[in-house]
């Protein structure tokens, strides 16, 4: 009881660290989503010069452990490129690289879920590739893209804890530091775990709500018109 009470004074730093964790994972998800979109468009372009590099990227970054990718950016990039990389930048790069590989496949599946008839109707009306994507295929693919994207975000948020290894003081690192300063004990780790859980569960709920709203917007039926 006494141990837990003493932890209260650390709470401001814990919440600041939680903020950093959310910021790091959110930024990585955004970069990953943009990268994934570009790569998915390359994958579905039908041009081998574009689809093969995209495929290689996906296979490489989803097959290498995130920790190795992180070390590559943190220790490797300064050696190879001669630039200094901050722990935050390296963590963002590694998480974004991983997220974009996963998002590519999710977005590709979304694009491919839209039937050929939709493409043909839109193209027949004179739309360019970009207009078809933006106004017809994109909105319809969202229903397929959204649920797994929520999972990817939750995964990235948890994965962001590896940034603690290269000395970026996010939530996990903060917990470990407090534990040391406080002379061991598991209460602080319990608190950290609960915070991760609350945030991830909130994301999951928000994602579910968003999904339901989109279904209703699409007339309560599936967007491909099936019942």
């Amino acid at each position: 009881m006494h141990e837990t009470y003493g932890l209260l004074e650390y709470m401001p730093s814990v919440f600041r660290a939680l903020g950093l964790t959310i910021w790091l994972s959110w930024l990585s998800l955004i970069i990953g989503a943009v990268g994934g979109l570009v790569l998915a468009l390359m994958r579905t372009s039908g041009w081998r010069v574009l689809s093969v590099p995209a495929l290689l990227y996906v296979e490489i970054f989803r097959s290498i452990p995130i920790l190795i990718i992180l070390f590559f950016f943190f220790y490797g990039a300064p050696l190879v490129l001669g630039i200094n990389v901050s722990a935050f930048a390296a963590a963002t790069a590694a998480l974004s690289a991983h997220a974009s590989a996963l998002m590519t496949e999710v977005i590709r599946a979304g694009i491919e879920s839209v039937g050929r008839g939709q493409w043909e109707a839109a193209q027949s009306s004179g739309m360019t590739y970009g207009q078809v994507m933006r106004h017809v295929v994109g909105p319809q693919s969202m229903q397929v893209i959204l649920p797994p994207s929520v999972n990817i975000y939750i995964m990235i948020l948890k994965e962001s804890s590896i940034a603690s290894i290269i000395g970026y003081v996010e939530l996990t690192a903060t917990g470990l530091l407090i534990r040391e300063a406080h002379g061991g004990g598991f209460a602080i780790l319990g608190i950290i775990a609960i915070l991760y859980f609350i945030v991830c569960y909130a994301i999951s709920l928000a994602g579910g709500a968003l999904e339901r709203r989109m279904k209703i917007a699409g007339s309560g039926l599936h967007m491909d018109g099936t019942r």
Partner: protein
């Protein structure tokens, strides 16, 4: 009063792999003509339409629409598609948009019409196809016949110079075929240029100005619909017309 053709097709050849679907077809369509393409299924009628607006590339011959050569993957194909309206067997309405939004989209995105005029035009067309009361419904809530009427309104919205119908009533329940044909009749009365793939022989006879009978990728016979239907000259047309009368 011979007018320059809107559409010129010259010895068109279309192959899927080694299979020849369209085998050297030539035909012209002049303004105001309503050409009905008939014949057994799998003889390339739908493929012919799809070649005309560049949904399919072609392996030989030439298609020219209003002085614009049609080439499937060229940038210029957009200029052709802007002037040709297409109605599909499966309607292909955009399921994430309401009936009204379906009709607004291409006007705004492709033709740069401002949203308010596009919406007015959509409502006017919905009234014409007798669906004003369904403007805010999503396609999944519409019957097949209603969806196809929205699709026709969508194609008309941008004032195309030619309309192409690809078996517009083949996917419909029998009781809704009539309402779609009625709308098509009204459009035909405006002397719009139409190219219609259909199995509705009565419609073709009453509305069409010319009937083209296709079989195995070739034009076998063509003429005034009533005459062709009453007295087909070729044996293949005779056989086909016999078979669909039963």
């Amino acid at each position: 009063m011979t007018q320059a053709p809107v559409l010129k097709i010259d010895t068109l050849t279309k192959k899927f792999g080694s299979r020849t679907i369209i085998d050297g077809i030539s035909m012209d369509v002049t303004p105001g003509e309503i050409v009905c393409l008939v014949g057994p299924s799998g003889t390339g009628k739908s493929t012919l339409l799809r070649c005309v607006n560049g949904l399919e590339d072609i392996q030989g011959g030439r298609i020219v629409f209003e002085d614009e050569p049609v080439r499937a993957h060229s940038k210029k194909i957009i200029d052709v598609r802007k002037r040709v309206g297409m109605i599909f067997q499966q309607f292909n309405l955009y399921p994430h948009l309401t009936a009204r939004q379906n009709i607004v989209l291409a006007q705004v995105v492709v033709h740069g019409v401002d949203r308010r005029s596009a919406t007015e035009r959509a409502d006017e067309l919905l009234a014409r196809v007798r669906l004003a009361h369904r403007a805010d419904a999503y396609p999944a809530r519409l019957s097949g016949g209603e969806q196809q009427r929205v699709a026709i309104a969508r194609a008309l919205a941008t004032n195309p110079h030619m309309l192409m119908f690809d078996e517009p009533t083949s996917a419909l329940d029998p009781e809704t075929v009539g309402e779609v044909l009625a709308v098509m009749r009204e459009i035909a009365e405006e002397r719009r240029t139409m190219l219609v793939v259909t199995h509705e022989m009565r419609f073709a006879a009453e509305v069409g100005t010319r009937m083209v009978f296709m079989d195995q990728g070739k034009i076998v016979e063509e003429g005034v619909p009533r005459e062709l239907l009453a007295q087909p000259r070729t044996e293949r047309a005779q056989r086909f017309l016999q078979s669909i009368r039963h």
